[in-house]
């Protein structure tokens, strides 16, 4: 439609020059020249015939006087010229490459024209001085005739005419000028003028021919382009129709009143209506009656804004009364003049998808409940035994119950981590940001993880003065990140070591670092350390516990809080894990 509008806009006055230039540029110069040469050669038979007729009349008239041999010689010359022209003509006609060899054929034609002109010039030079008055008039009339006859003959190429006419006029002028007669001398002065005028006319005609040929070629090319454009439009029209017809999504064309103009097969199948039952009726047929009011309001607003809508979820009743949930894209088509042509509505049946999402949610929820409830009993029982609630228990029994409690806890951690990852990746995890003082966060994390550190005989300690600056973050989730980093540090530190926690200001905000004296991160593991189920080697999880999801969760949580997480080798051995969060404004 824009193209259409642009086309209309460009046809304003003053654009004529542009169109002319366009036509000139569109015509292929080689083709135009071939046309001109063709035109010149097509005149040849007429020219030859005229030459023979005029030559015979002239010979009859002139031989009555003296110089019969000269007349015969001249007649022979003329005959040779005509024969050579005839050969030239035949040669041209039989050349299958004549449209490519235009330069060569034009050159030969020029030579031929000059030869013909020179033959007439010879007649002027030889016969004019030798004859009496009335024959001189005849000769002058004859020469003027052959010159002016050359104009239409050679109009397609003015230089050819100029050569032809010059070959006639030059000797004639010379004869007149040197005759010794004042009148003739005056005529001799006029001939170059006539010559100039004739060449000028030929030049103008040449221009007319040229623009004519250019127009023809431009027009031809335009026609070809138009045909091609039409073919393309037809093809894309067919393609478009096919797209809509065979698309697996329902496509409806509506008018400004919401009346269905056209539907595709998918729409028929989805809603259970035949096309005839929908076309001509309001699309409200596909809207639940209780929502007709909402629909009318939304439709009116669409007609006002004319802005395309996407992702509109609607519960649509089918013909059999069952509802399907569809996601609609609604696009008003507006032409260049701002008139609404139609509204295209494309609907995708997402009923099954929603059901699958619901089932997944239910599954996750069930998994969460059904796995955690028995684990609560298992871990709880073992914890009570291990806490000494039942009194003194033989050492080898507690050794086993501790193994059982630890592994029960590991299983629970895994379930929690999987649920966390699932929640984060499905976008269901909602953070509850609050303003947190960094020093308080670190102290709370140290306190929470002290027990875990004790198990590995590792002590957590703040490094220097902690910053009292604030960040905006979800406290519970940030503590989860801290707990992950602290427990990792403890697991990998040698017994008796200290894990340091530092806070510092960085350009991006505040950085919390956890520094351990562990073995460092193996080279091959660095790239995937924040990936899911990644542990440096599979024996680690057996020795140290952990699910391999901890750092993946940390990364996602920190990024959800608009921060970054990373690690680096520590001077003197060990690793520093850090995260940065934007400062609270």
């Amino acid at each position: 439609m824009n193209t259409l509008a642009n086309g209309i806009e460009s046809a304003e006055p003053g654009a004529a020059a542009a169109i002319t230039a366009d036509i000139r540029d569109r015509a292929d110069p080689a083709l135009v020249r071939a046309d001109r040469v063709e035109q010149l050669y097509s005149q040849l038979p007429l020219g030859m015939a005229a030459t023979i007729v005029i030559g015979v009349i002239a010979a009859m008239e002139l031989h009555e006087g003296r110089l019969l041999e000269l007349v015969l010689f001249w007649g022979g010359l003329l005959a040779v010229v005509v024969v050579l022209h005839a050969l030239l003509y035949l040669g041209y006609r039989n050349d299958s490459q004549r449209h490519e060899n235009t330069g060569q054929w034009l050159r030969w034609l020029g030579i031929g024209a000059f030869a013909a002109g020179a033959t007439w010039g010879f007649a002027a030079a030889v016969f004019f001085p030798s004859h009496a008055d009335e024959r001189q008039v005849f000769l002058a009339f004859l020469l003027a005739g052959v010159i002016s006859g050359g104009i239409p003959m050679y109009a397609a190429s003015w230089p050819v005419f100029a050569a032809y006419a010059a070959a006639i006029a030059l000797p004639f002028t010379y004869v007149l000028a040197t005759f010794g007669n004042r009148l003739f001398a005056e005529i001799a002065l006029l001939i170059p003028l006539f010559y100039g005028v004739s060449v000028a006319i030929a030049f103008r005609l040449n221009g007319v021919f040229l623009s004519g040929y250019r127009l023809r070629h431009a027009y031809q090319r335009q026609l070809v382009e138009l045909q091609e454009a039409r073919r393309q439009i037809e093809a894309s029209g067919r393609k478009l129709a096919l797209f809509a017809e065979r698309a697996p999504i329902a496509v409806l064309e509506l008018d400004a009143d919401g009346v269905v103009q056209d539907v595709n097969q998918a729409a028929e199948l989805l809603f259970g209506y035949a096309a005839d039952e929908l076309i001509g009726h309001s699309v409200k047929r596909l809207v639940q009656p209780k929502h007709h009011g909402d629909f009318e309001r939304d439709w009116a607003s669409l007609m006002t804004t004319r802005a395309p809508l996407a992702g509109v979820k609607v519960r649509n009743p089918r013909r059999d009364g069952i509802n399907v949930v569809c996601e609609w894209s609604v696009t008003p088509l507006v032409n260049a003049e701002g008139r609404m042509l139609s509204v295209i509505a494309q609907g995708r049946d997402i009923t099954a998808q929603l059901e699958a999402e619901r089932m997944k949610k239910e599954f996750t929820s069930t998994l969460s409940h059904e796995l955690r409830t028995p684990l609560t009993s298992i871990i709880g029982s073992l914890q009570l035994i291990n806490a000494g609630v039942l009194g003194e228990i033989p050492k080898d029994v507690t050794e086993l119950t501790e193994v059982a409690e630890r592994n029960g806890q590991r299983l629970l951690d895994l379930i929690n981590d999987i649920l966390d990852i699932e929640k984060i990746e499905s976008g269901k995890l909602k953070l509850m940001p609050e303003v947190i003082r960094v020093d308080e966060l670190v102290r709370e994390a140290i306190l929470l993880n002290k027990g875990f550190g004790d198990r590995f005989k590792v002590r957590y300690q703040a490094r220097g003065e902690l910053l009292t600056r604030e960040v905006t973050a979800d406290r519970k989730r940030l503590l989860q990140v801290m707990t992950n980093l602290l427990s990792n540090a403890a697991k990998f530190s040698p017994e008796g070591e200290v894990v340091e926690i530092s806070t510092e200001e960085v350009p991006q905000g505040l950085r919390v670092g956890v520094h351990d004296r562990g073995p460092g991160i193996p080279e091959g593991f660095r790239a995937r350390i924040f990936g899911r189920f990644s542990q440096a080697d599979s024996t680690t999880s057996r020795q140290k516990g952990g699910t391999g999801l901890g750092l993946a969760i940390c990364k996602r949580l920190v990024e959800m809080m608009h921060g970054h997480i990373g690690f680096q080798d520590r001077d003197g051995g060990g690793t520093t894990f850090w995260f940065e969060l934007p400062r609270h404004a």
Binding site: S368, H369, T373, T376, G380, S381, L384, A387, V389
Partner: protein
């Protein structure tokens, strides 16, 4: 904070294993008196006669779930003032926030740690008016 220490707990829970663990935790570690109710349909009668300081409700129970029981309690003057703590494996943060907004004293998520449970309850008790 209430003047007297937390002592009498009534726990409505259909899973007898968890009942046993909670009883052991609260009685042996927390030195509290515990009344267990398995069937939520008879819970209100049991609560009324036991006169607990605090009621613990499981979320998922056959017959009547914890939140429904909680709303029922709120309508009965003799039990409506009792502080209620939910103990659940399923609830999302939003569910829990909703319960707190309805007047629940606190929530404890499963799995809880029996070693820490008495302290957790006392912490909730301490925050009560």
């Amino acid at each position: 904070m209430p003047e007297r220490p937390l002592n009498r707990i009534c726990y409505v829970e259909d899973d007898e294993d968890i009942q046993r663990i909670v009883r052991m935790s609260l009685e042996r570690i927390g030195k509290m008196t515990v009344e267990l109710v398995t069937d939520p349909m008879v819970a209100i009668g049991a609560i009324t006669s036991f006169k607990p300081d605090l009621v613990m409700l499981d979320w998922m129970m056959p017959g009547m779930d914890g939140p429904t029981l909680f709303r029922k309690m709120k309508q009965l003057p003799e039990v409506s003032a009792l502080p209620v703590v939910f103990i659940t494996a399923k609830a999302t943060q939003r569910d829990m926030d909703e319960l707190i907004a309805l007047g629940a004293a606190g929530t404890i998520s499963k799995p809880f740690y029996p070693k820490d449970l008495p302290d957790q309850l006392r912490a909730i008790w301490a925050k009560l008016p």
